[in-house]
């Protein structure tokens, strides 16, 4: 009896007009959603499946860790990878960006245009590494069966702009397989507040060279995200560390300005 009822019910559902309509609607929705998914996510799916090869990503991956490591070094050493004229502070060679060996006098700028110099230093790192990365890329293209025509000359450019650092690798190449693709340059960015940090550092150096000292609290009050540590060392040297509290980036440099001898009659340098 029960078995019969089940059968009856089952057939009722299928036979019921409203039931059929509901099932059709559900199936239609499922198909529609599936189509939508394929439509919107197809590129991603394709990427996952075929592991699409992106030269720009390859270059960025190849360079990024090296660049970040060197940015930290540059930041700790006053924008120099191998500074000359530095003071040793917390085991870092901190470059004097403003210095006078004399007492009572404001310092003289040792490195004008610190942003540009930072870029130049970083660019030298980028260029060295970029040549290797481009070679790797060419090899990878070839391994994948492409015919590659690439210039042997690799040029690079680093630009620090508000909120990011821009890296450009100018290595023209064309790769051919079924069709030909041409690349003039590869570009990528690293989010960074280094621009603001360097601008504030420039301002501090301006104060140091003009007035001999810089009141860092003003910067802190005007720019809440900036924290400036000012370590006054012996012999009149000051090590400034300009920190960006949100990104944790920093820039450290040294200055010796308007130094006064330690008590009367201390020997001059």
């Amino acid at each position: 009896m029960k078995h019969k009822n089940y059968k009856e019910n089952f057939s009722l559902i299928w036979m019921n007009k409203r039931g059929q309509t509901s099932i059709f609607i559900i199936v239609a929705i499922v198909i529609f959603v599936a189509v939508l998914l394929v439509y919107f996510f197809y590129p991603n799916i394709k990427n996952v499946v075929s592991g699409e090869f992106s030269p720009s990503n390859e270059i960025e991956n190849c360079l990024q860790s090296d660049l970040k490591e060197n940015i930290v070094t540059l930041s700790n050493q006053g924008g120099y990878l191998d500074p000359e004229g530095f003071i040793l502070y917390q085991n870092d060679k901190v470059k004097y960006l403003c210095y006078t060996s004399q007492y009572y006098l404001p310092c003289k700028v040792q490195q004008a245009l610190i942003k540009k110099h930072f870029e130049d230093e970083l660019n030298s790192v980028l260029k060295t590494k970029a040549e290797t990365c481009i070679s790797n890329l060419v090899a990878e293209f070839k391994r994948r069966g492409y015919e590659v025509s690439a210039s042997s000359k690799v040029d690079t450019k680093v630009e620090i702009v508000p909120q990011r650092m821009e890296f450009t690798i100018m290595a023209p190449m064309s790769v051919t397989k079924e069709n030909t693709q041409t690349y003039d340059e590869f570009k990528f960015n690293i989010p960074s507040e280094m621009y603001n940090i360097l601008m504030i550092s420039t301002s501090i150096i301006d104060f140091e060279s003009t007035y001999g000292n810089s009141e860092t609290n003003l910067y802190t009050q005007n720019y809440p995200n900036i924290k400036i540590d000012k370590a006054e060392l012996d012999e009149g040297s000051t090590v400034y560390t300009v920190n960006e509290v949100t990104t944790k980036e920093k820039f450290r440099f040294a200055s010796r300005s308007l130094a006064w001898p330690g008590g009367y009659g201390r020997e001059t340098q």
């Binding site: 245009l113 301006d206 330690g262 008590g263 009367y264």
Partner: protein, 1389 residues
């Protein structure tokens, strides 16, 4: 008689005339001399000082002139002003600039890599790597490489001032020889960039706009009228926000984003979707966003905000939600709830989110103490203020000063009011009067700063070269105040410059006894108004008539410190300025005998105290307590007589009871109260600029004119002799004009008693010359005689010098007697014409007076003796012999704000005791980032010695060996066993001195190569972890066995002595227990998927220790597993992966699972230790999976074919396809006639291609063998070999037949061809057959292929009237050259 009288008068007249003329000449000379001095004084005060300042600041003067000027000025000022001071030249004041430097040069690059540094000419060779340029940085020509100017980065619009030319241009900058402020492109203004203001130059503004993708003038603009950064930052409100509504396809309600109109237009590509000042949750918009869904902080903003359900920011949080929601409209901050009120800025912390960082609050995560009343909210306006150690609330950003000791002057220290203070003349009130600087040796000024709830402390510059200044402004509507403090330069050097030079002092000397007052007045109006200085007056005058030792001196209010340890002699020159001499005058009195009559105070302790006050005020000089209140380690000063007899004990030891009611010995001159920090005291931040040029010149001019007028008005009469005397004595200073010179004058005064005071001799002589002639009357002779008697007596008393020793009565008696005698003798002479004939009384009296005078002279009555008391001010000396631990107190002392500690610094440390050593690197042991001060014996030549073990820290269950510890010690387990790898053992030892230690499991050659135990301390402890013995280079321990190990300990003391050559050895044993089963670190089973035809597979596993391993197709305990693996069990067999075990596994079907288990210590197999072995309880499961099918090469092209080409063989693409194996995909390799080892151009999938015959590898006409090998990821391999032949067709096609049918001409060729014709020759060609097929085809004369499948039959419309010149070429381009294949004319061939 008349004639005689006339002669006398003539003689008298002549003498008077000579005297008059002489006086005029002398006076004129003096006036001239003084005028020069006045001019000199004016120049010194005005131009010299100004020049020096300018030189210091601008460096713009000729160096030689600078040097000469400074030398002259300072030498004049100091050498003559303070005679006892050693010669101090300008080099000491200007540091390194002296007359023997070779002048100032500019080094383009120093050997320590600094650019454009001024150095002395003599040091060029030694210090300069680049070129040494003549002149100073300011005087270099504009085109010099080091010329200073402004460097402009044209690209960025950034300017750097004071930049050397070359180094700017080398970087591509544009250099201008102008100040930054005067260059228009360097002037900063307010840049409005999208929604944020930036204070920068216009050029930078444009550059930044560009980098943001904004068009300058549209999305970004620049306002050069706003010239202050703060004004800029608050000037821009940004674009107004509102609701940006957009449609969402699959929702009935609209979406919304709170944004700006610009962004909204970009987002929606429409301009009617933005509703300014309206919240997204406003129901009128019909969005799906629900109001006030959550609260949170926003980065960069202070306040707490509501967020709607769509995540859009709403208004500032308020517990009154409707009020906060504001009917769905944006509510401005000022209209939002109020967080607090003056005095209690967080009053409404629980209900309001209108935080304001300027009023001490900012949005942050709630804490246990600070939270909103609504417990569901996770944020709150956090209090960013601080509470200092005295309990006072400090606002965020507030800074204040804290001091280690008393600062400035004692008592009511109001800078600028020295004149008021100096009006208190009673020395007993000198504490109130502020008669000395109280900053103690070793004390610094500190600046404290409240930074987001945390108090930070930083020391002002060492040696008090900086002082902390503080300004307090009342808080609104409260009685409290807000402090702002900063460390500024202590301009103590300038105080010394206020003191007059020798010329000025000599000029003042004309004021005689008033010179001291004149000097004091001058200093009060200059030095006394300078906030960094004060006028110290040493006043030993108690008897206004006879005492003269009084002078004023400008001293630093905050005296500088010295580097007492590394440069102890540096202070000598400065301290010596307070070295002075006081001349005490004694007179041999008739009754009392030798009696002190002048400057008697100089023999009392008051003198020592007053002079010590001056001495200590100059710097770390004299007798003074250190900042801890401890007595100094040396006298600090010496008081001697002229014969160098030390008066220390008998002068310094005199009690001060008369003045202070207590036993103030010399040692107690150091006032411990000075070491007490003064709470709430502060130095105002805003003080008038000292050495103001106008004020300075005005003072000098005033004094100059005053003195000129005084001299001209006759005051010089009394002053001149004194000055002359001074000069003769070798240029005694102005300070001692009153003291030393005054003493000389005093002695002279005693030589001419008061009635015949200074100048009395001259006056007396004048009196003699002025007495009327006694012969005019009878009594006139008596009167004249009386006068003569008086005069002669006086003259004799004066001449013989007995006057000072006579009481007044005796003097009067003698002179009276002399006058009487003279009167009697004169009367006798006038009446009788003889002196004594009329009666002997007069003569007897006269003789008696004469005899008495002679007798008094013989007795030595009236003799004057000078006793010179020398006060020598010396540098302060740190205490000696302080107990161990005293140095370590550095940094743990109180500050004036109640703080219990401060960053210990070198200066403070060295002031505590002579055996204190400052250590900067302390491995994080010091508080506040300061250094550590330790007791160090510089004579100590031995490294730290272990004097005891530290029992308190030893891990329970262990014990140390007994003494001695000279070589080290042992640690043993009380239970008798050894430490195992699961234990941590803490032990320690105690050194005989402060030091830091390192430890290692093996001997090291360098201290730095060892592992640090901790910071510098006498008590050293270390935790030895059994887990990590390898970090101490302890390797190769045998498990389950006793291993004796030695730990090597090396310690270094504060002076760098280490026992690296003979480390202490700590012995102990470890017994690493093995309680863990083997760990299989690595498995190699041939890959994830095996080839299709695999029958057996070798499985390798690697264990972390020597093991016995077994496997089975089924799970089971180790002992039940049937298959043993072959394992490496020798120590040398271990590789980086571990110990290898391997076995051959027969595969079962497509997938075979096996279970592997291992058991450690195979050497204990079947021994008594069998039960100590550890085995795996869980299987290591390995799945061996075969490929589903064989990898196949399905197709190859070309495959056994002949490829016919023309003369030129084109490239050939070989293709192949694969299937089966893992997934059909494979990497295929190919070769022609060789083994297939070249990866195909396109491979990796199931279709593989390779182009042959491109570039230089062209194909030949020959037979090729093509070999292919494809390998998939499961190592399935498929190979195939095929061949193909390439042949070239070089034969022209032939026309086999030609015919006409139905007006069409048909041509049949012997191979597939393309045929064409001409009806007439091509232009300019004579021969109609001189063409090729392509040319004919081009003009359309094609003969169509009638049979497309074959290409043999060709047909074309046939006009019999025209000739047909026919040619054909085959598929490979072969055709005849220069002739037709056939010619049809008139319908015939």
């Amino acid at each position: 008689m008349k004639i005689k009288a006339s002669r006398e008068r003539k003689f008298e007249a002549i003498i008077q005339i000579v005297l008059l003329i002489g006086s005029i000449i002398s006076f004129g000379y003096l006036i001239r001399d003084f005028s020069d001095n006045i001019v000199s004084a004016v120049e010194i005060s005005d131009s010299d000082v100004t020049n020096i300042q300018n030189n210091v600041r601008n460096e713009g003067q000729d160096p030689n002139q600078l040097l000469n000027l400074d030398n002259n000025f300072i030498n004049r000022m100091l050498n003559s002003f303070v005679p006892q001071a050693p010669s101090i030249n300008s080099g000491d004041f200007l540091n390194g600039i002296n007359s023997n430097t070779g002048g100032v040069k500019v080094c383009t690059k120093t050997k320590d890599n600094k650019i454009c540094q001024q150095i002395t000419g003599n040091s060029c060779q030694e210090n300069c790597e680049g070129e040494c340029l003549d002149g100073t940085l300011k005087t270099l020509p504009e085109n010099s490489v080091c010329s200073l100017g402004t460097c402009i980065d044209k690209t960025e619009g950034i300017c750097s001032s004071e930049s050397p030319k070359k180094y700017c241009e080398d970087l591509g900058g544009e250099w201008k020889h102008q100040e930054e402020d005067s260059i228009p492109e360097c002037v900063k203004g307010c840049c409005h960039l999208a929604d944020q203001p930036i204070f920068t130059t216009e050029g930078s503004c444009k550059k930044q706009a560009e980098s943001h993708g904004l068009e300058f003038g549209v999305g970004a603009d620049f306002n050069g009228e706003i010239v202050e950064e703060y004004s800029c930052l608050i000037s821009f409100e940004g674009e107004k926000e509102g609701a940006c509504v957009f449609s969402v396809d699959d929702e009935s309600k609209k979406g919304c984003k709170l944004t700006t109109k610009t962004e909204c237009e970009t987002l929606t590509e429409r301009n009617d979707n933005f509703f300014e000042d309206v919240l997204c949750s406003n129901p009128d918009l019909g969005t799906s966003c629900l109001r006030q869904n959550s609260t949170n902080c926003i980065e960069g903003l202070d306040e707490i905000y509501w967020f709607d359900s769509c995540g859009n920011k709403e208004n500032i949080y308020s517990s009154i939600t409707d009020q906060s929601w504001n009917e769905g409209k944006i509510l401005k901050n000022v209209e939002s709830c109020t967080l607090g009120e003056p005095g209690d800025w967080l009053k409404n912390q629980g209900i309001c989110g209108n935080c304001d960082r300027l009023q001490g609050s900012i949005c942050g995560n709630k804490t246990a103490e600070q939270k909103l009343d609504d417990a569901t909210q996770g944020v709150v306006c956090l209090d960013t203020s601080c509470v200092d150690d005295s309990g006072k609330r400090r606002e965020n950003g507030e800074s204040w000063c804290a001091y280690q000791s008393s600062i400035g002057l004692p008592g009511p220290d109001v800078p600028g009011l020295d004149s008021l203070r100096n009006s208190i003349t009673n020395p007993a009130l000198s504490f109130l009067a502020g008669a000395r600087a109280t900053d103690t040796p070793g004390s610094l000024h500190f600046r404290k700063f409240c930074n987001n709830g945390k108090i930070e402390i930083s020391a002002c510059d060492n040696y008090r070269n900086q002082i902390c200044v503080e300004e307090q402004t009342p808080k609104e509507e409260t009685e409290d105040y807000l402090s702002q403090a900063s460390c500024r330069l202590n301009r103590w050097q300038e105080c010394l410059a206020y003191n007059p030079g020798s010329a000025e002092a000599r000029l003042m000397g004309f004021a005689g006894k008033n010179a001291g007052n004149l000097l004091k007045a001058k200093l009060e109006l200059t030095c006394g108004l300078d906030p960094d200085c004060f006028v110290k007056t040493v006043d030993m005058i108690r008897d206004k008539e006879y005492d003269t030792f009084k002078f004023s001196y400008c001293a630093p209010r905050y005296p500088p410190g010295f580097d007492m340890k590394d440069n102890p002699d540096a202070a000598n020159q400065l301290c010596a300025q307070a070295s002075q001499q006081c001349t005490v005058v004694y007179v041999n009195m008739l009754i009392e005998g030798w009696t002190c009559k002048g400057n008697c105070e100089c023999e009392k302790p008051t003198f020592a105290k007053e002079m010590n006050d001056l001495c200590t005020s100059l710097g770390d000089c004299g007798s003074e307590v250190n900042y801890l209140g401890n007595q100094p380690g040396g006298k600090g000063y010496i008081i001697t007589t002229k014969d160098k007899k030390d008066l220390w004990s008998n002068l310094g030891g005199l009690p001060f009871g008369d003045l202070f009611g207590g036993g103030f010995g010399i040692g107690n001159l150091a006032n411990p109260l000075d070491a007490e920090p003064i709470k709430e005291e502060y130095i105002p931040l805003t003080q008038p600029e000292i050495l103001d040029k106008i004020r300075h010149s005005w003072i000098v001019e005033t004094f100059g004119s005053l003195d000129i007028s005084r001299i001209l008005s006759g005051d010089a009469d009394s002053g001149t002799p004194n000055v002359e005397t001074n000069n003769e004595k070798g240029g005694i200073s102005a300070g001692l004009i009153v003291g030393g010179t005054g003493a000389t004058a005093l002695a002279a005064a005693y030589a001419f008693p008061s009635s015949l005071a200074v100048g009395g001799g001259f006056s007396h002589a004048t009196v003699i010359g002025s007495i009327p002639n006694p012969a005019l009357a009878g009594f006139g002779g008596g009167a004249l005689g009386a006068g003569l008697g008086l005069a002669v007596t006086g003259f004799l008393i004066k001449m013989l010098g007995i006057g000072p020793g006579l009481p007044a009565a005796a003097t009067y008696a003698l002179m009276g007697t002399g006058a009487v005698a003279g009167a009697l003798v004169g009367y006798q002479y006038a009446t009788a014409g003889t002196f004594c004939a009329g009666g002997p009384l007069g003569c007897m009296l006269a003789v008696a007076v004469l005899l008495i005078i002679v007798f008094l002279k013989i007795l030595g009555i009236g003799e004057v003796k000078e006793k010179k008391i020398m006060f020598e001010c010396r540098p302060w000396v740190a205490p000696t012999g302080e107990p161990i631990g005293k140095c370590e107190q550095c940094g743990k002392d109180k500050l004036s704000d109640g703080a219990e500690s401060f960053p210990c610094n070198k200066y403070s440390c060295q002031s505590i005791a002579q055996n204190c050593k400052y250590i900067l690197e302390t491995e994080g042991t010091a508080e506040h980032g300061g250094g550590l001060c330790v007791t160090a014996d510089i004579n100590d030549v031995s490294p730290p010695r272990i004097i005891d073990v530290w029992k308190d820290v030893l891990t329970t269950g262990y014990s140390y060996s007994e003494k001695p510890y000279d070589q080290g010690f042992s640690i043993e387990k009380n239970s008798g066993g050894c430490m195992n790898q699961f234990e941590q053992l803490k032990f320690g030892f105690i050194l005989d001195e402060y030091g830091w230690c390192r430890i290692s499991g093996e001997r090291k050659e360098k201290f730095e190569e060892m592992t640090a135990i901790g910071g510098i301390s006498q008590n050293q402890s270390f935790v030895l972890s059994g887990y990590d013995l390898s970090s101490l280079s302890i390797e190769g321990l045998k498990s389950e066995e006793k291993n004796d190990i030695s730990l090597y300990v090396v310690c270094e003391d504060a002076v760098g002595k280490t026992n690296i050559d003979k480390p202490y050895i700590i012995n102990l044993c470890v017994d690493p227990k093995d309680l863990t089963a083997p760990v299989i670190n690595n498995v190699n089973s041939g890959g994830d998927v095996l080839p299709y035809n695999t029958e057996t597979q070798t499985v390798n596993v690697y264990t972390d220790e020597k093991s016995e391993c077994k496997w089975s197709y089924n799970e089971g305990v180790f002992g039940d597993l049937p298959n043993s693996m072959t394992c490496n069990i020798d120590d040398g067999d271990r590789d980086v992966r571990g110990f290898e075990c391997r076995s051959e596994v027969v595969l079962q079907g497509e997938t075979t699972s096996i279970c592997i288990k291992c058991k450690d210590h195979p050497e204990w197999q079947n021994t008594e230790n069998e039960n100590r072995r550890n085995e795996n309880s869980e299987c290591i499961k390995i799945e061996l999976k075969k490929s589903n099918s064989e990898l196949k090469i399905d197709s190859i092209y070309p495959n056994n074919v002949t490829i016919t080409t023309g003369r030129n063989i084109p490239s050939l693409t070989i293709k192949t396809s694969t299937s089966g194996g893992l997934d059909g995909n494979a990497d295929c390799f190919f070769s022609l006639d060789n083994s297939p080892n070249e990866l195909m151009f396109e491979t990796g999938t199931n279709i593989h291609k390779q182009i042959l015959g491109t570039g230089t590898s062209s194909l030949q006409e020959k037979f090729y063998s093509l070999k292919l090998r494809c390998v998939d990821k499961a190592n399935n391999v498929a190979t195939n070999t095929t061949s193909f032949e390439i042949k070239r067709d070089l034969i022209n096609p032939n026309i086999a037949r030609i015919y006409e049918n139905s007006r069409r001409l048909y041509v049949v060729t012997d191979e597939p061809s393309q045929c064409a014709f001409l009806n007439k020759p091509i232009k300019e060609r004579k021969n109609a057959c001189n063409f090729n097929v392509d040319e004919a085809l081009e003009i359309g004369n094609i003969i169509s292929i009638e049979d497309s499948s074959q290409g043999y039959l060709h047909g074309v419309e046939f006009d019999t009237k025209k000739p047909y010149y026919l040619r054909c070429k085959d598929l490979y381009g072969n055709e005849k050259t220069g002739e037709c294949d056939i010619v049809v004319k008139g319908g015939f061939v």
